[in-house]
């Protein structure tokens, strides 16, 4: 879209716009980090904006006395269980819809697509009652099972693209070499869709790690808190220990940021595809 050279005024304008955009985009993340690293004696927003001294005091307090390590462990357990569960179920389902023609195939696909639009707010009350009658409140496993269900539709939809991209000829070659369907699945299809499994796994991890509503409804015993719920304990009724809160927020954010950078490309195309194709 650029034609020839730009006037210096236009270049300056673009530079200013980019600078403004970056300032707006990065400020919250920067402010979170600078507040977390500021010493305990600094208590106001302007003091922590450019801390004169950097210390890990807030982090050691959060992980030590405040017991955040426990919540990290709970969240990690739930996230890993969710990733394993939803990756396995999604892979089987994705192979079924991308490799076989059968009756109601389109119905299944449309159902998977539509079910993604169901708001969590509509599910939280019946899920709460279901879990309470099964004695699964305050259970890490119960929460993991719910998260498998929440992340499954998108995971099926995303993996379907990856399995469909494997040429049928590759499979046929395996059959000609005498492989059974199971052998073909294990030795041919699985390695080829491994990148897709990683991407959907990361997506499920982020879903489970970030989820707040269901976790807050299900967990009322502190020892089972996830990180998303555990953060709330730093918010006091009248005053909040913002240094500790921001340190804990940083700890919650870092794994998500790292994983997010891996999958951003797939996430965008997955979301758009999911919304467009029927």
């Amino acid at each position: 879209m650029r034609t020839g050279t730009r006037s210096p005024w236009a270049s300056a304008g673009i530079f200013a716009a980019v600078a403004g955009l970056l300032a707006f985009t990065l400020f919250p993340a920067y402010f979170m980090l600078s507040s977390a690293l500021a010493p305990k004696r600094t208590v106001t927003g302007t003091e922590v904006l450019l801390p004169d001294e950097v210390t890990l005091d807030n982090f050691t307090y959060v992980l030590g006395d405040a017991g955040f390590v426990r919540y990290l462990g709970n969240s990690l357990f739930i996230a890993v269980a969710t990733v394993l569960g939803s990756a396995l179920l999604a892979l089987l389902a994705a192979v079924a819809v991308s490799r076989f023609r059968f009756r109601f195939r389109t119905t299944v696909l449309v159902m998977v697509l539509v079910v993604q639009m169901v708001p969590l707010e509509a599910l939280v009350i019946p899920l709460f009652l279901q879990a309470s009658s099964l004695d699964m409140l305050n259970s890490l496993l119960g929460l993991s099972i719910v998260y498998v269900a929440l992340s499954l539709p998108f995971a099926i939809w995303m993996l379907r693209g990856f399995t469909a991209a494997v040429p049928v000829e590759v499979e046929e070659a395996a059959y000609i070499d005498g492989a059974s369907w199971g052998r073909m699945f294990w030795s041919v299809l699985l390695p080829l869709v491994a990148p897709g499994l990683v991407a959907t796994g990361i997506f499920s991890f982020i879903t489970a790690w970030n989820e707040f509503l269901i976790a807050y409804a299900f967990l009322d015993m502190e020892e089972y808190y996830t990180v998303a719920v555990g953060l709330r304990q730093f918010a006091g009724q009248n005053t909040t220990d913002w240094g500790a809160m921001m340190a804990a927020s940083t700890i919650v954010t870092i794994p998500v940021m790292v994983f997010f950078l891996f999958v951003q490309r797939g996430l965008v195309s997955g979301l758009v595809q999911g919304a467009v194709k029927g």
């Binding site: 034609t3 673009i14 980019v18 707006f24 985009t25 919250p28 993340a29 402010f31 106001t44 927003g45 302007t46 179920l89 089987l92 389902a93 079924a96 490799r99 076989f100 195939r105 299944v108 159902m111 079910v115 639009m117 169901v118 708001p119 969590l120 707010e121 509509a122 599910l123 009350i125 019946p126 709460f128 009652l129 279901q130 309470s132 099972i145 719910v146 269900a149 929440l150 499954l152 049928v168 046929e172 059959y175 790690w209 970030n210 707040f212 409804a217 998303a228 918010a235 913002w242 809160m245 921001m246 804990a248 940083t250 919650v252 940021m257 951003q264 965008v268 979301l271 758009v272 467009v276």
Partner: protein, 321 residues
């Protein structure tokens, strides 16, 4: 699809026939066997609860029903109670719908502006800026919300101090979280900050596919920059705008943590509830599960209506396939 499988070698004819049939039957059953676990989970934990929330919404269901079992069918009473309450029309509905309209509009407009800016950058600069933008998207809603609350903290927040320093705010300060408009302005800022990267990246991908010839032809016809954007870019990218608008609408209708975690947003201040938090407040907190379910159903119906309107507009024009 994968029918190119060799038949088993030379078994005697009659068993062979039967065996082939069973193989075919097995092949027909295989996709369902693969789908079964996933469908069971989706059915049991997404579809069944969806049915149950409908069933709960026509009952007066509280702790007694939960512990003693039984149903207490009341017909549409929960709905008529809710819909005849001015609280729904004056507070919860504007907090949900009006907020979503403003937030979606702001997200799409800002995201599009960012996409146009990105399209004007050189590839290296573009990659760097996109990576920085992704930081905003990757921030979890929970920690992101707390950062905004800290930025706007009433006593020691940086916004308060800044406004006080330039004399726009007196020493008595101002409680943004107690004022409905200011409260939702902060929620909107949070949502736009978190949601614009998706719009920007998606619109940018669309922008890069618009054929250059279209712009060159427009230039020859004497079109200015604004006309080129309005008459070439916008019509070409209509499907892309439709997608980002639908998705943003679906997301913004059901914000929960971004409201709930704000001071007073958890139900302590009734003026700040949207449908999602209101449903939670009635259902989980007050144990009026029937009322909470009815609010949740209303939210779902609104969401469904919005989605259907968009989809109809889209498919009528056959722009997306």
């Amino acid at each position: 699809m994968t029918a190119g499988r060799p038949a088993p070698a030379a078994p005697p004819p009659p068993p062979n026939r039967r065996r082939r049939m069973s193989l075919r039957a097995r092949r027909r059953a295989l996709p369902w066997a693969l789908l079964a676990p996933g469908l069971l989970v989706i059915g049991g934990l997404l579809l069944y609860p969806l049915g149950r929330v409908l069933w709960l919404s026509v009952q007066d269901y509280g702790l007694r029903e939960l512990f003693q079992g039984g149903t207490n069918f009341v017909g549409a009473a929960n709905y008529t109670d809710l819909l005849s309450d001015s609280y729904l029309w004056r507070t919860a509905l504007p907090n949900t719908v009006l907020f979503a309209v403003v937030a979606v509009g702001a997200t799409v407009v800002f995201g599009t502006l960012v996409a146009l800016l990105l399209a004007a950058l050189r590839p290296l600069a573009r990659t760097i800026v996109i990576s920085c933008i992704m930081v905003a998207w990757a921030m979890p809603a929970v920690s992101g919300t707390y950062v905004w609350v800290w930025i706007f903290d009433v006593d020691r927040g940086i916004v308060r101090q800044g406004l006080e320093a330039v004399g726009a705010l007196g020493p008595e300060g101002f409680n943004w979280f107690a004022d409905r408009l200011a409260f939702y302005a902060i929620v909107t800022l949070n949502i736009v900050h978190h949601g614009f990267p998706f719009v920007a990246v998606t619109v940018l991908a669309g922008l890069l596919t618009v054929p250059k010839e279209l712009y060159e032809a427009a230039v020859i016809d004497g079109a200015g920059a604004w006309q080129r954007f309005w008459n070439v870019t916008v019509p070409t990218l209509r499907p892309v705008f439709a997608v980002v608008t639908i998705l943003s609408t679906i997301w913004d209708f059901k914000v929960f943590a971004q409201v709930f975690l704000m001071p007073g947003g958890d139900g302590a201040n009734p003026a700040m509830l949207n449908f999602g938090v209101w449903s939670y407040q009635q259902g989980i907190v007050q144990t009026a599960y029937g009322t909470g379910a009815a609010i949740a159903v209303l939210l779902t119906v609104m969401l469904l209506a919005v989605t259907l309107v968009y989809l109809r507009a889209l498919f009528r024009e056959e722009e997306i396939r």
